[in-house]
């Protein structure tokens, strides 16, 4: 299993209700069902991924995150997860608030735009950075709201969101001394565990 998911699953209680926003092919929820007997619900809009979820026995609801989560009751899930999707939504701040309304246990992962390679590319060549975590051209990227670890820290501070854990990992989802020293410079992927 991907190391970032390995990190995330320690924050998920066995037998709890987990909402995965942008659940992809449902592999992570299928894993949580098997290992932790969670009651799963995934949201997804990609039709092929939705079919993969059905085939994997994962509950999947076809729903666009940009159209809101008002159909979910407050405090109706034990955990809400948003993995590698924050940067693709129209209003990340509203989505974060909605996550906190639905659950007290929230997890977000996103690619850190302030990684030194990205900085170097922008500074030296002057191109929009591309990397293995950001493989798209500027014109066809689904990532419309890039953010950095510092940005997300600031959002949490402004919105009085309590960060329970913050971990940064590299592309292999491993952490290192440098990353822990300067997460916003060396971290490729950020993992936040937060509540209010």
């Amino acid at each position: 299993m991907r190391a970032d998911l390995e990190i995330i699953q320690q924050w998920i209680e066995p037998g709890s209700r987990v909402l995965d926003l942008g659940c992809g092919d449902g592999a992570f929820l299928a894993h949580l069902k098997k290992e932790k007997q969670v009651l799963d619900c995934g949201l997804e809009i990609d039709t092929e991924n939705i079919n993969r979820c059905l085939r994997a026995g994962v509950n999947v609801v076809e729903q666009d995150l940009n159209k809101g989560l008002s159909n979910f009751e407050s405090n109706s899930f034990d955990t809400v997860l948003l993995a590698q999707t924050l940067q693709t939504v129209e209003r990340p701040d509203i989505l974060v608030e909605e996550m906190l309304r639905i659950s007290r246990n929230c997890i977000i992962t996103f690619p850190n735009f302030a990684h030194w390679r990205h900085r170097l590319k922008l500074l030296s060549i002057g191109n929009m950075p591309q990397s293995s975590s950001l493989p798209f051209e500027w014109y066809d990227t689904p990532n419309i709201h890039h953010c950095t670890i510092r940005d997300f820290d600031n959002l949490c501070r402004d919105r009085k969101i309590k960060i329970l854990h913050r971990t940064v990992v590299d592309f292999n989802h491993r952490s290192s001394f440098l990353m822990n020293l300067h997460p916003n410079l060396f971290g490729i992927n950020a993992i936040y565990h937060f509540t209010r």
């Binding site: 209700r17 009651l39 799963d40 619900c41 039709t47 939705i50 079919n51 993969r52 979820c53 059905l54 085939r55 994997a56 026995g57 509950n59 999947v60 609801v61 076809e62 729903q63 159909n71 979910f72 009751e73 109706s76």
Partner: protein
């Protein structure tokens, strides 16, 4: 000459009439003393009787969901859901034992308004009681008892069939493992009821209706039933579907206005293909379907609202249910549009039930649920494969 039947068909099937002696108390308070149900089955029931699927039909459907009745009739069309039922089809007859019945009040063999009332020796006609979805499901549960099926692997239906699936989950929360609700709604809207009322008025205002006792006059309200079906057809197709269906020969932007004879007649005869199609569909239907059954089932639809017993909160109705749900809607369905299915989904989520929901892009309107639309068929197959895997010996969480 025997016809050639493809290998993924259930082949030639024979329905059976099952008699029930036990009286059935109806929602209305009235009682049916005894009744028959016409039933068709496909596939084999396994040893622990865990692989049974119930298919619930919609307004004009019946027990004949798949395969053929007549080996010699080359022109016979297969059952109404043949694209989904058969070996290696989504409802795979190699894995499941599939049951489909003509509902009570129907006109395809089960006891209904056109059956003979043993008390009078004449057809029930308008004296046949109004049957609700809950009554149907009660009679279906008795059929399950008779077949020795304690718990369905899945109960599946589209449109009015989907409403029966919801009622199953509410009335018999422990008797199904999966509920598949397709192109349905939690209850009819005023517009839906209005269309039904136009259909009813068409039938009852036909001079041949004779207050519902047309059997005694050896006639039937042909024109009324035809009109009712024409209105229904418009409601089941989307604007897009009509443009495509009746605009084949013309350039884009013809809006489906293809002429029947290539020119305008300047009379009140049929000019456009859409007119002759509706007329043909209406006429065919009126010769095959009982008008009193049509009236009855439109009422069954109008009355459906399982939230009435739960302070009009549908989520409360679902609380006791133990099954998993699959809900599917179609983008151009304007009879029961996607937002009606989302209402069902949101109430299931509120009740903390396990639910999957798909909104299938399809041009065919409400009728799409009967058609082999690739994404739809694939989704049903994926879901049902999982249902089948739960049946396998030693499968986890098989209960």
């Amino acid at each position: 000459m025997a016809k050639t039947i493809s290998s993924d068909s259930v082949g030639i099937v024979t329905p059976q009439l099952i008699h029930f002696d036990e009286r059935l108390e109806l929602r209305s308070g009235r009682i049916i003393e005894q009744y028959d149900l016409m039933v068709e089955t496909y596939g084999e029931l396994n040893a622990d009787k865990s692989n049974a699927i119930l298919i619930c039909h919609a307004l004009s459907g019946d027990h004949h969901a798949a395969g053929y009745h007549d080996a010699d009739n080359q022109r016979e069309k297969p059952g109404w859901w043949d694209c989904c039922i058969g070996p290696s089809k989504p409802f795979d007859t190699k894995k499941f034992f599939i049951v489909c019945l003509n509902n009570l009040g129907g006109c395809a063999g089960s006891t209904g308004p056109s059956s003979i009332d043993p008390k009078t020796g004449k057809p029930f006609g308008p004296d046949f009681p109004i049957i609700t979805v809950r009554d149907w499901v009660k009679s279906q549960a008795r059929l399950a008892d008779k077949l020795g099926i304690d718990k369905w692997a899945a109960v599946i239906g589209g449109s009015l069939g989907g409403m029966q699936v919801m009622r199953w989950a509410i009335s018999y929360p422990n008797r199904l493992r999966h509920a598949v609700i397709i192109a349905a709604a939690p209850k009819l809207s005023a517009q839906n009821i209005a269309f039904n009322e136009v259909a009813r008025q068409s039938i009852t205002s036909d001079p041949d209706f004779h207050e519902g006792r047309y059997y005694d006059f050896d006639t039937y309200p042909k024109r009324g039933l035809m009109l009712a079906r024409m209105v229904g057809h418009i409601n089941y197709l989307s604007d897009r579907a009509m443009r495509d269906k009746f605009g084949k020969d013309a350039i884009e932007g013809s809006f489906g206005r293809d002429l029947r004879s290539g020119k305008l007649n300047f009379s009140y005869d049929v000019d456009f293909q859409v007119e002759s199609y509706l007329k043909y569909k209406g006429e065919t239907f009126s010769s095959q379907f009982d008008a009193n059954t049509y009236l009855l089932i439109t009422k069954t639809l109008d009355y459906f609202d399982p939230s009435v017993d739960y302070d009009f909160d549908l989520s409360k109705a679902f609380v006791e249910s133990q099954c998993k749900y699959l809900v599917i809607s179609f983008s151009t369905d304007w009879r029961f549009p996607p937002e009606r299915s989302r209402e069902i989904v949101n109430n299931l989520l509120k009740a903390e039930k396990q639910v999957s929901y798909l909104e299938i892009e399809a041009d065919q309107g409400h009728d799409a649920f009967l058609l082999p639309i690739p994404r739809y068929i694939e989704a049903l197959r994926s879901y049902m494969d999982c249902v089948a895997e739960e049946l396998a010996p030693g499968a986890a969480n098989a209960s």
